[in-house]
């Protein structure tokens, strides 16, 4: 494997995680991000199932990219994605029925998730199978992390605790779900019900986007200042170079 190919593989894997995060940077796939993030477990489940669908569709579309005529691209992609969604839906119903009932319609709605179709159109139909595979994993991880961030905030603020075992039953201890009390105790309860409601979902997502925009703006400002400083220094140097005889001598004489 030569250096350029390795760099490209690395790039297709890493890009989707932070730099081009599908939810927070590209603002795609917002419907499930707001709907299934009431609990951390549901968000993780959604992220994992999403990653499977994206991986499958990316690899298959990339493998078939020379066979699918350009005119019927989108319908062909939709059918491929729908097939993987059906597979994932049936597996989920059979093995994790609690997750299936929690996600409900949103599992079927993965078919029209903009990220899956977006990656197919923007990446998988132009790149090799291995790169598309890495791109699928990278974007899947990025989306899952984004869902986890929203769900953590919403579950902790909304219920005052984290619950494990309601959906992934293997996490149960002695047949009971595990509760991790954070904002709640035997006599006190600082949880805010609003964050568990749909309105709370919009607020949390909006504030996260605002924080990210604030950081991006700050970085942009800093870069602009640096660029201006560099341009100024270059102009000064050019001025000095244009009149070398007068500039360096003048201040020396004044000091004595």
């Amino acid at each position: 494997m030569d250096e350029i190919a390795r760099k490209r593989h690395h790039e297709s894997f890493v890009a989707g995680i932070i730099k081009e995060n599908p939810l927070f940077v590209a603002i795609l796939g917002t419907c499930p991000a707001l709907a299934v993030t009431t609990t951390l477990e549901a968000a993780i489940g959604m992220g994992v199932l999403f990653t499977f669908v994206l991986l499958g569709s990316n690899v298959l579309i990339s493998a078939l990219r020379k066979l699918i005529p350009e005119e019927v691209e989108t319908p062909a992609y939709i059918v491929i994605v729908a097939t993987f969604v059906t597979i994932v839906k049936m597996l989920c119903e059979a093995y994790i029925p609690n997750l299936y009932s929690t996600l409900g319609v949103f599992l079927a709605l993965l078919v029209v998730n903009c990220i899956v179709l977006g990656r197919a159109e923007a990446f998988a139909n132009k790149n090799s199978v291995y790169d598309s595979f890495l791109d699928g994993i990278g974007n899947g991880i990025g989306y899952t992390l984004a869902l986890i961030v929203i769900a953590l905030i919403r579950e902790v603020l909304g219920t005052g605790m984290l619950t494990f075992g309601d959906i992934f039953t293997f996490l149960k201890i002695n047949g009971e779900s595990v509760h991790l009390y954070l904002l709640k105790g035997p006599t006190w309860d600082y949880s805010i019900y609003l964050f568990g409601t749909p309105a709370g979902a919009f607020f949390v997502f909006g504030v996260i986007m605002a924080v990210l925009a604030y950081r991006a703006n700050k970085k942009k400002d800093r870069e602009a200042t640096e660029r201006r400083a560099r341009a100024f220094a270059a102009a000064e140097a050019a001025k000095k170079a244009a009149s070398p005889s007068t500039a360096p001598l003048a201040p020396k004489g004044g000091n004595d």
């Binding site: 707001l34 319908p75 939709i78 409900g104 309105a199 919009f202 925009a213």
Partner: protein
């Protein structure tokens, strides 16, 4: 008959306001935030969604109960629905173009986008998952789609007004739109309990 009619009307109200498609069930957020602050295009988009959701329900209901269930293939619903919706969007486009070129012009680019609008697939899937009969399915379709039209137009009006006020730089655009949507959702929460 009378009782059924009342439950039909109540279902429409439920899906229109209490269980609102965008603000409570989160279908179609992408288009909701994406259409932005143009009231006219928001109205066109909403109208196109009403067309497609009502027709998709009309077609998918018999397909599910008279083709997929007797054939023992109810698990194929997602694949069939998305194909029906994609074809339907094309056909609706042709019809509107033939009979009302003015409407076609105003719907314009929004028609093809409806295929990937979660609201359409969401309503159709919900109808078959919850085992609604034909009347309640249609009530769900009407209530949801009109609720979508209503919210997207109100939202565009609010955003048009917001644009002329100065907001902190980081809040401009999508963050402010999301907070606005959150406030609208809080207003709708006041109607909880009214439903059936």
């Amino acid at each position: 008959m009378y009782a059924y009619f009342v439950s039909f009307l109540l279902s429409i109200v439920t899906y229109l306001l209490i269980d609102n498609v965008v603000l409570t069930r989160f279908y179609g957020i992408c288009s909701f935030v994406g259409v932005g602050n143009k009231v006219k295009s928001a109205f066109s988009m909403g109208l196109a969604v009403v067309f497609v959701i009502v027709f998709a329900t009309l077609i998918c209901f018999p397909i599910y109960y008279y083709v997929l269930v007797p054939a023992g293939l109810p698990f194929m619903d997602t694949v069939v629905y998305i194909l029906v919706i994609a074809c339907l969007v094309q056909v609706v486009g042709f019809f509107i173009k033939k009979y009302s070129p003015a409407l076609y012009k105003s719907l314009g680019i929004y028609l093809p986008l409806i295929t990937t609008n979660c609201a359409v697939l969401g309503v159709v899937t919900e109808n078959s998952n919850s085992g609604f009969d034909f009347g309640i399915s249609m009530a769900n379709a009407l209530g949801t789609s009109i609720g979508y039209l209503l919210m997207i137009v109100i939202f565009a009006c609010i955003r048009m007004r917001l644009d002329s006020y100065s907001a902190p730089r980081a809040m401009k655009g999508v963050p402010l739109a999301l907070i606005t949507a959150g406030l609208m959702a809080m207003a709708l929460m006041g109607l909880t309990g009214l439903g059936v």
